[in-house]
Structure formats: structure tokens, C-alpha cells
């Protein structure tokens, strides 16, 4: 019965494989997207930003539609012969999804595992720290207030970072930091810890999303079967796209409503913010070094102005009421 049910599908599959007929595939989609994007950039060079953005999104969505088509066809190509051989399609879809899940999740988990070594982590961290400092450094180099105004000071500063690493993480015993770089060292150390925590939280979040994404695929496959059983097989790319959208939003919604998601997402946001606070403390130090006002100082100034303005408004209102 099952074999009979799947029997007619192979003809269709074979036609997809025919060399004379072009169906969407990665190469074709890439080429198509490149061509359309070029036209888009040329024609919309001076267009209204809202129109330009919508055009880009429209092109990207059409490409996504083709990619979903490609993904779906290749999945069925992998599954169909086994069904033909008499295997249970429900179990096959579950297994196929599980394989996808396994393929996707190590990519995320592996990122963290691959950089577990403290030195390697520190290297990544400092390269990021230097990257986000770069725009300020460039400004400082040409600014009249910058000490020396040459690259030498920049190099010294970079050495200071590495020196701070040696002095902090080289001896992670927790002994109190000393010397004129103490504050920077402490901030770098705190930044490193927060950065590591934020990466971990991001990995946890991505694992959950990757899991949800694998669930989307399973949902699409099952809905396709259901539609076929109801005599309403998918007949166009647009229909397939709608099916993906409906399945994806259902699957994501189920995950999004779970307490686990709220917790993992919350951890991710909070850890990222904690790191941003540490990052700012380091940037503040950099700014001070170049005789620039810091974000913290600006906030303080804004707060004072705000409070004074509020006081004046209240006084004016009270005077008006008395008059």
C-alpha cells in the first residue's frame, strides 16, 4: 500500500533529474541573484530608501523561495528511494530531520569547543577589542590632542593590552592587580569574562534556533504528506513557499512560547548587555588615554542637564500657578 502510494512519485523525481530540464539549483540561484542584484543596484541607485530596501527584500525573498524549492526537492530525492524500498516514510522523515539537526548543531556547539583554549579565546577577544577600538584610534591619530599622533603610540597601546593579558591571565590566581595599568587590566579581565559568557549565551541561543529550524523542515515534510493525502499536493514554488512560511512560523511560535526559549533568549540578551557594559568601560579608558570625553562622562553631563531642566520647568510651572 505504502509502496503503491509512493510509486508514482519516482517518475516526477526522474523528470527533475533530466539534463534537458532546468530546475532551481544552487548555482543557478546564485547566478540569478547576482544578475538581478546588479540590475537592482543600477536602477535603484538614486531611488527612495524605502523603495530600495523593499526591492532588495523582494529579490532576496524570491531567491529564498528558490532555495526552499531546491532544499525540498533534494530532501525528497534522498528519501524517495528508501520509501520505494518499503521503509516507513514517517520514520524516514524523523530520521532525516534528526540527521539535519545533528549536522546543524555541531556547527554551533563546535564554535565554542574549537575555541576552548584560554589563549585562543583571549586572542579572539583581543582581536575583537582592537577592532571595535579601531575607529576611535583612527580618529585619535589625526586628532591634535593625541599623544605624538603617530603609530608608535598606537603600538604601545596595543602592547599595553597584551601586557595586561600577561599580567592578568598569565597568573589567574586572582591576586589583586597592581601598577598604573591596574584599572585597565581589571576592565580587560572583566571584559574577557563577560565576552566569554556572552559567547556561551549566544551559542545556547543559536542551538535552540537551529533546533527549531530543523523542526521546521520536519513540519514542512509532514504537511506536504498531509496535503497529498487530502489530494492537494504542492503545485508551484509559490505554494511551496507558503507552506514553508506557515510551517516555519508555527514551529518557531511553539519554541518561542516555551519557558526554555524565554530563559535562553533572556540570558543571551542579558549576557550581551553585560559584555557591552564592560566593552564601554574599556573604550572609556581608551578615550581617556587620548584626552577625549568618554560616553560615561557624556551621560553624566546629560543627566545633570536633564535634572536642571526638570527643576527649571517645575519652578516655572509653580510660578505660573501662583501668578
Amino acid at each position: 500500500m505504502q509502496k503503491k502510494m509512493w510509486g508514482g512519485w519516482f517518475e516526477t523525481m526522474q523528470s527533475f533529474s533530466s539534463p534537458n530540464i532546468m530546475t532551481p539549483n544552487t548555482g543557478m540561484i546564485d547566478q540569478w541573484q547576482k544578475m538581478v542584484s546588479q540590475s537592482l543596484e543600477t536602477w535603484t541607485a538614486s531611488a527612495d530608501p524605502a523603495s530600495k530596501n523593499a526591492s532588495r527584500q523582494m529579490v532576496a525573498s524570491q531567491a529564498a523561495m528558490m532555495r526552499f524549492m531546491e532544499l525540498t526537492i533534494s530532501a525528497w530525492k534522498a528519501i524517495a528511494p528508501k520509501v520505494e524500498a518499503g521503509e516507513d516514510w514517517q520514520a524516514l522523515i524523523t530520521n532525516y530531520t534528526e540527521q539535519m539537526r545533528r549536522q546543524m548543531t555541531p556547527n554551533v556547539a563546535g564554535m565554542n569547543q574549537a575555541t576552548q583554549g584560554l589563549n585562543q579565546l583571549w586572542e579572539t577577544y583581543t582581536s575583537q577589542i582592537q577592532a571595535f577600538n579601531r575607529p576611535w584610534m583612527e580618529v585619535m591619530q589625526v586628532a591634535p590632542g593625541f599623544v605624538g599622533g603617530s603609530n608608535a603610540e598606537m603600538l604601545d597601546f596595543t602592547k599595553l593590552y597584551w601586557g595586561a593579558f600577561d599580567r592578568t591571565f598569565g597568573s589567574m590566581s586572582g591576586s589583586p592587580s597592581v601598577g598604573f595599568t591596574r584599572e585597565l587590566e581589571e576592565k580587560l579581565a572583566k571584559g574577557f569574562e563577560d565576552w566569554r559568557a556572552s559567547r556561551q549565551a549566544m551559542d545556547d541561543y543559536q542551538l535552540l534556533v537551529a533546533d527549531a529550524w530543523a523542526g521546521v523542515f520536519e513540519q514542512v515534510m509532514r504537511e506536504m504528506i498531509q496535503r497529498t493525502e487530502q489530494g492537494k499536493p504542492v503545485q508551484s514554488m509559490r505554494e511551496l513557499m507558503s507552506l514553508w512560511t506557515s510551517a516555519a512560523d508555527k514551529s518557531f511560535d511553539a519554541i518561542f512560547r516555551s519557558p526554555e526559549y524565554a530563559q535562553v533568549q533572556g540570558n543571551f540578551v542579558n549576557a550581551t548587555m553585560q559584555y557591552r557594559i564592560s566593552e564601554r568601560a574599556i573604550v572609556d579608558e581608551t578615550m581617556k588615554y587620548g584626552h577625549f570625553p568618554t560616553r560615561t562622562e557624556m551621560d553624566e553631563a546629560h543627566r545633570n542637564i536633564y535634572e536642571l531642566r526638570k527643576e527649571i520647568k517645575a519652578l516655572k510651572k509653580a510660578l505660573k500657578a501662583k501668578a
Partner: protein
């Protein structure tokens, strides 16, 4: 024999791709020819009558004779999130224009775009200073003790607070898709409420200062990521050769992505007190020195909500009935979603007349 689940004929696919290409290229040409003025929103004729810091109070130009104008103005308080232009997207999709046509004298507060200098603004500033000063301005201008207040979405929560603190200045209170009980869920709890519980607003504000509008927007898109980020634009291909529909679409895009940042302190208080601790319905919110007691709202109340609202679930709005002190309370459901309240045909036809008639019936 059972059909294959994917009955897409490769030749048809090729044809479909070719058609998409043709439409896409034609659409891009059309889009490229559009000017910013073609997709401008919030264009109903109006005049800035009062400004303070970054806020502006607008009065919409009446289109009926002075003696036909309803004597008690309606002051609209929109949310701090997104821009109030959604209430006036275009000529034929505009709650504001519809109210003006019905002889309502409409005022609207525009919060502007907070910068880092506004990071310390609190809800007290927004409610007891900006809203209150605008209300006083309108009262003085019209020689009235009381005016009508319409609070939309978060602006509805804020208007409830304002009215409970200054009930003597509000003749009638109208709320539209306004969250009151932030933990009321009904059958489908709002995702924003669920997610709001997991974040630490103190950290967010310490880390970011003001909360970027783009971040808020991303959160809204994540409520239905595929439908809002992929499918919507895939469907756009169907309207690219219809200029009127395309412009409607683009005006909505213009509004969605015109997202002001949120003043840090005000955001912090709103998330903690309203979303996380649900203090509004419990009578525990404190704005400045004033405790908000919704039982102080004794004037007539019209509560308009959207039955299919995924952002503010109907039970969240309807909870107001149990806590207000008003004996003249009216629930008014509309069979639309949150945004449908502004753009759906049903809302266009019925919303403004319903509000105007309700106001006029109460003098």
C-alpha cells in the same frame, strides 16, 4: 496511485521563474522611479501649535465649518514605540482624517526622536510633563476645563495613568488597542509579554543608553519571522505592477522602519513596572510622586480593541473594565489585528464614526 507531494512540473517551474523574473525586473524599474514624496506618511494637513524639548503638539486643520466643529477637542496620545503616522498612513487609510471629516477637532502629540541627551527622561516626564502640558495648552486655547483623550497602544496605558492622576482634566477617555493587564493572556499569550519576563532592563539601559528602535523592530519581526521577513516580500511580486497597491505597501514599510529610539529610563520603568511586574492593573504604578489608581477614572470610557491582536491580546485591554471607577464603560471590539485597526477596510469604514458618535453622545 497517490500523488507525489511535490507536483511541481519542472517546465512549469521554469515558466514560473521566468514570470517572476519579468515581474521582478519590471517591479524594480517601477520602484526605482518612485520618489520619497510618493511614499510619505502622516500627510494630513496640520499645524504645530506647541513645542517643548523634542515633542510637538499638532492640531489637524478642520475641514468642516467652525460652527460644525465638535466643541471639545480630541487629544491623541500615541505609543513611544514607532511613530504616530500609522494613524494617518495615506489619504484613504487614515483614522485621523476620518475623525477630522466627522467634525472632530483633533490634536496629536509627536514625541520626536530621542537622542542620547534624552536618555534620562522618565515616564513621569512623558506623562506628567509633556502630556500634561499639551492638555493644559489645549484647555487654555479652547477655554475648557476638560478635553477628550484618545490613547493608542502603549499611549493608551500612558493615557490611563494620566487620567487617573489628572481626572479633572479629562472629559471622556478613549483607549485603542491599549494593554492594561500585561499578564492577561486568554488563549494566546502575547509573545512580547513572555519575552519581556526574561530580559533585564537595567542591564539593557546600562549597556545601550537609549534602546535602539531597530532593536525593538527586530523583536517585533521575530514574532512571525518567516511571514514578516520572507513571505511578505515574496508576495510583493504580485503587486509590483499595480502602482497604487505598491505605494500602499511601501507606505506601510516606511512607517514600520521609521522607529525612534526609546529613552532609556522610560523604557526601563515601562518594562519593569508594566510588563514584568504588571503593576498597572494592581494599582501599584508610581509616576513621579503619583500612585496610579485606575479607580480614579470615573468619566465615560470607550475601550476599542482588536479581536485578533497578537501584540495586545484582547483580555489585556478588556481587563480595564474591572478596575475603572467609571459607570459609563463601553467595550468596542473590532474583528481585526493590531495593525488592521489602522488599515483594514472594516476599521476605515467604522472606527472613526464609532468613536465620533460615542464622543458626541456624551456632549
Amino acid at each position: 496511485m497517490q500523488a507525489f507531494p511535490l507536483q511541481i512540473n519542472p517546465e512549469d517551474t521554469l515558466r514560473e521563474v521566468t514570470e517572476i523574473n519579468q515581474k521582478l525586473l519590471g517591479g524594480i524599474k517601477t520602484l526605482a522611479g518612485l520618489k520619497h514624496s510618493d511614499v510619505q506618511v502622516g500627510t494630513a494637513p496640520r499645524e504645530a501649535v506647541y513645542t517643548e524639548d523634542k515633542i510637538t503638539l499638532y492640531r489637524y486643520k478642520p475641514v468642516v465649518a467652525e460652527d460644525k466643529l465638535f466643541p471639545i477637542p480630541l487629544f491623541i496620545v500615541y505609543a513611544l514605540v514607532n511613530r504616530p503616522a500609522v494613524a494617518d498612513l495615506q489619504e484613504d487609510r487614515s483614522l485621523i482624517r476620518n475623525l477630522v471629516k466627522l467634525g472632530i477637532d483633533v490634536y496629536l502629540i509627536d514625541w520626536g526622536y530621542p537622542s542620547n541627551a534624552d536618555r534620562w527622561l522618565t515616564l513621569d516626564d512623558y506623562i506628567n510633563v509633556y502630556v500634561d502640558n499639551c492638555v493644559d495648552f489645549i484647555r487654555e486655547k479652547h477655554g475648557l476645563d476638560q478635553i477628550n483623550l484618545l490613547g493608542i497602544c502603549q499611549g493608551g496605558s500612558m493615557s490611563s495613568c494620566y487620567t487617573s492622576i489628572h481626572p479633572e482634566k479629562v472629559k471622556n477617555l478613549i483607549l485603542m488597542v491599549a494593554p492594561i493587564d500585561f499578564h492577561a493572556s486568554g488563549r494566546s499569550p502575547g509573545l512580547i509579554n513572555l519575552w519581556g519576563g526574561g530580559i533585564n532592563p537595567d542591564l539593557m539601559v546600562a549597556g545601550l543608553g537609549n534602546i535602539p528602535g531597530d532593536l525593538m523592530n527586530f523583536g517585533f519581526l521575530m514574532l512571525q519571522p518567516f511571514a514578516l521577513m520572507v513571505q511578505k516580500y515574496a508576495d510583493m511580486i504580485d503587486i509590483v505592477d499595480d502602482k497604487a497597491k505598491l505605494l500602499n505597501f511601501l507606505r506601510m514599510e516606511e512607517w514600520i522602519f521609521d522607529s525612534p529610539d526609546l529613552a532609556g529610563e522610560a523604557y526601563k520603568q515601562f518594562v519593569k513596572d508594566f510588563f514584568q511586574d504588571n503593576k498597572l492593573i494592581k494599582g501599584e504604578v508610581v509616576i513621579g510622586k503619583d500612585k496610579v489608581n485606575l479607580a480614579n477614572i470615573t468619566m465615560p470610557v470607550l475601550n476599542v480593541y482588536a479581536e485578533k491582536d497578537h501584540l495586545v491580546p484582547p483580555p489585556s485591554s478588556r481587563a480595564l473594565e474591572k478596575v475603572v471607577g467609571s459607570k459609563d464603560y463601553t467595550d468596542m471590539p473590532f474583528p481585526v489585528g493590531h495593525i488592521g485597526m489602522y488599515v483594514s477596510g472594516k476599521a476605515q469604514k467604522d472606527l472613526a464614526p464609532s468613536i465620533a458618535n460615542w464622543i458626541k453622545a456624551r456632549g
